[in-house]
Amino acid sequence: MTDIQYLAPHTLDEAVGAFAAAAGTARILAGGTDLLVQMRAGMVRPGLIVDIKKIAEMTSIEETADGGFVVGAAVSGAVLAEHPRFGKVWPGVLESINLIGSTQVQGRASAGGNLCNGSPAGDSVPAMMAADAIVTVQGPNGRRQMPVEAVPAGPGRINLAPAEILVSFTLPPRPPGSSDAYLRMIPRTEMDIAVVGCGVSLTLTNGVCTAARVGLGAVAPTVLLVEAAAKALIGSKLDTAAVDAAAAACSAACRPIDDKRGTIVYRTKVAGVLLKRTVGIAADRAGRA
């Protein structure tokens, strides 16, 4: 049972090397709030655990010269919340991460872990998609970047190649009049998994929506980027007709399951409702008159 190894390398090259050498039996440990639960439940039995938190790039938050952000994959929700600028520029991304679990879980859980866990209901994923985040991954063949929406492959599965490790999220600079928001539907106020989650990022110029992106969680095998909803918003003044059309596009994009958290009918309806509310919050934050 205990022929299991633990490594906490200080460089990404070491981490990738060990991850590759373990040939599929290794698991990456960031905050561990999913991994330790899965290990305890016997869902995963890793031969090697690679703790990435001693790698500086994994736990750093950098505001770039152009006003964008690079957030290390293992940055915890609590640390991100204490950054003096991040939550002002990306309030929706921050609230999506901070909704995950309790205060205790926030001390450890990361957006990188949330994405790589592959849950269709991961809270930070729709907000990251709405934010147009790019992820940097490193593997045996070097580094590459991909849009965050290219990462999820299905429940519990992601499109990283063998021995690739998620390194960071890059969020673009924000034009004036931009903001974002994330809402999730749960039947209580805290400590639950999304029945539906909706992330919206938008830019307003003289009251007209000039850019928008919409991410939708827990309504399909993967978190969805709903381009049709964004299209309905762009060019409008976010009037009722435009927002109704975007809500309809969200409901049309849903391919949910029936489970104990919600039915297909309920999730499909709530997706549209949440879109409207989330657009309202993002627009107010963006300075809608």
Binding site: I4, Y6, A8, L36, S102, V105, R108
Partner: protein, 160 residues
């Protein structure tokens, strides 16, 4: 497989222990280290009974590998009283009977102390959200929340 050797600091004391790679911090606290104040309720990060401070950050010790403790600074419920002198939160929980069976109490106290170190003037709502990850089946939470708010008020007064 040889066990891992870990050097860390627990409640201010330099501490060394041996562990398996998949032992949780809670396993080692309650087992070889004999610090049984931290409780195992769920083992999955839902109940908060195993709450500890890891480098000044509130975490569930059941969701942390013991191996991760290397070079870190850990405080458990055993580090809360100074000798025989209880922390004001501990004293207030006794006065207001903010516990019954006591299983959740160490975790609630560690989490509440972490809150008051950040915010000595929390609202009731802030207390309730901060403690949302600490489950209690006895008190209905009201006595806990009142004890935390009363302690905060007394500590503010004492600080003046």
């Amino acid at each position: 497989m040889a066990k891992l050797h870990v050097s860390t600091t627990i409640n201010g004391e330099p501490t060394e222990f041996l562990c398996e790679a998949n032992d949780s911090m809670l396993d080692v606290l309650r087992g070889p280290l004999g610090l049984t104040g931290s409780k195992e309720g769920c083992g999955s990060g839902d109940c908060g009974a195993c709450s500890i401070m890891l480098d000044d950050r509130l975490v569930c010790s059941c969701l942390m590998l013991a191996a991760e403790a290397e070079d870190s600074d850990i405080t458990t419920i055993e580090g809360m009283a100074v000798g025989e002198k209880l922390h004001p939160l501990q004293q207030k929980f006794l006065e207001l009977a903010a516990l019954q069976c006591g299983i959740c109490t160490p975790g609630v106290l560690v989490a509440s102390k972490a809150l008051l170190e950040r915010n000595l003037n929390p609202t009731e709502t802030e207390v309730r959200y901060w403690l949302a990850g600490n489950l209690c089946r006895c008190t209905g939470y009201d006595k806990i929340v009142r004890a935390v708010l009363d302690t905060a008020a007394e500590m503010r007064e004492a600080a003046q």
